[in-house]
Amino acid sequence: MSRYWVQRLGFALLGLTALAVVVPMLLVIGTIVVEGMGAISWEFITAMPSDGMKEGGIFPALVGTLLLTLGTALVAIPIGVGGTIYLAEYARDTWVSRCIRLAIINLAGIPSIVYGLFGLGMFVLFLKMGTSILAGALTLAIMTLPVIISTAEEALRAVPTEFRTVSASLGGTRWQGIRYIILPQALPGIITGVILGLLRAAGETAPILFTVAAFFLPRLPQSPFDQTMALPYHLYVISTQVPGMPLRIQYGTALVLLALVLSMNLAATVIRSYFRRRRQW
């Protein structure tokens, strides 16, 4: 067989492996959409669960996830953006900055269930926050930091150095350069990073198992110190812990969670490509 045909065959095989990666994922999404579509209705989204969760909707779980994501954002955005500014604009290449980088890599690698235990030990028990939205959001926020920081740092570093020099040459302090030039230019990238971090928080189950999630709580939380249901945990509960659960409701719940996370993913992608095409440098 000629070398040319070996190459043709090889390339075809590589193409097939790429398909083997992507197609099963599309099958997952497709199956959940097809099977779950039937459950989706206005009532399913906006009603309390009833009859041991076998009837009614997922409203408190959806609201709980949105509140948790919001809380995570409130904590993670200032810390993440501040930390990124330090790393990209202030830190010099010393052992200290290497320690910070190592810490970020490490935070990114810590298993989500370990975050859950940490949240239980520190926020729920030691700081006596109890099982609450506050404890859950703090735990999720720390987990999302590495995602936000690594994406946002890339965005800050992509802004040309010359802008910093020009700003300084016009009497700008370092902070003014960051405030008026670097941050506005890097904003789309920062937003992308924040969304990517938050979608991870919205979809995670393990960190909220022992810090916030309620098995069944058919009312909305009244304060940050309340427990709440949450979509990913709810999906786990109804698919493993409740015998005789109608499959339709399970798929419906999975679909809502998937749609939430994928639409955040889509938003991040769109923002990134839109601004990449529009920027002037």
Binding site: F118, I142, G203, N265
Partner: protein, 303 residues
């Protein structure tokens, strides 16, 4: 020259001083968080080591109700599932990275890259749910095993969860191989196919190692999907058919049992003890992975 009112300038100066101090604190906060996490794991987990005898702790039976805290089956369960996942994900991931970076036409790349990112975003619990309802029955029927909730099912799901990481890091590694290497290969009369496997991939092997390590870290730490599809039997996986029998990982053990233990009990401490092992294990893996990245930077990069 432009005069600025003195008081206003001083005030602005103070504000900046405070902002910059705050930025510095936030910059260092990540180190603080890692230390805090480790500290709290130690605080709750260390008591295990004087409440439970070493022979019990490294024994082969995990039955907390009978005060048996043998972590070996859990360690082996995690190891088996992770190895299965990597054995599936490594060839798939590297081949896909090579395809995307070296072979695919532009349009295919434009389609594949975002799709792979989407894959990274699918929540673990959703994959676990799909695994339970679709993959597990499939495996049970095709292989004729008593249950579809097996090591292999878990490994398969984990492979797909590790794939986005492996593909993107491996792709960066391939990207870092200088064009001159490729040109040299082609100039010596090799086909593109030969150049890829004899020149480009070997040149990128440290990056590919990093990719596999990071994927492995991801797989070891994964919780929900594994818990939902591996069957959660804490048994020693020593027989040949272990791959198609249930097993139980460290992460799943914590997730399944922490909700029911009394705070401060030996069982509670033991679960934190497992978390310490997980923390150290992933720390080590990421440290090794990162050191190959840092090394590359010190050499001035391959670009």
């Amino acid at each position: 020259m432009v005069a600025q009112p003195r008081a206003e300038a001083a005030q602005a100066g103070w504000r900046e001083f405070i902002i910059e101090a705050l930025i510095r604190v936030l910059g260092f906060s990540t180190i603080g968080f890692v230390l805090l996490i480790f500290l709290f794991l130690l605080r709750e987990g260390v008591p295990t080591f004087y409440e439970v005898s070493p022979s019990n702790l490294f024994g082969t039976h995990w039955y907390p109700t009978f005060d048996l805290f043998g972590t070996l089956p859990l360690l082996l369960g995690s190891a088996l599932v992770t190895v299965t996942a990597i054995l599936i994900a490594l060839p798939l991931g590297v081949a896909t990275a090579v395809f995307v970076r070296e072979v695919a036409p532009d349009w295919a790349r434009e389609v594949l890259k975002p799709l792979i990112e989407v894959l990274a975003g699918i929540p673990s619990v959703v994959l676990g749910f799909f695994g339970m309802h679709v993959i597990a029955p499939l495996i049970r029927e095709t292989l004729g095993v008593p249950t579809g909730l097996t090591v292999f099912t878990g490994g398969l799901l984990l492979a797909y969860m590790a794939l986005p990481t492996i593909i993107s890091v491996a792709e960066d590694a391939l990207d870092a191989v200088p064009k001159s290497f490729r040109d040299a290969g082609l100039a010596m009369g090799a086909t593109q196919w030969q150049t890829i496997w004899r020149v480009v991939v070997p040149a990128a092997r440290s990056g590919i190692t990093t990719a596999v390590l990071l994927g492995m870290g991801r797989a070891i730490g994964e919780t929900m999907a594994v818990m939902m599809v591996t069957g959660n039997a804490a048994r020693m996986p020593f027989t040949l058919d272990s791959l198609f029998r249930p097993a139980r990982t460290m992460t799943a053990t914590i997730a399944a049992e922490m909700g029911e233990v009394a705070q401060g009990s030996t069982h509670y401490h033991a679960l934190f003890g497992i978390a310490i092992i997980l923390f150290l294990l992933t720390f080590l893996i990421n440290l090794v992975a990162a050191s190959t990245i840092f090394k590359k930077q010190r050499r001035g990069g391959l670009r």
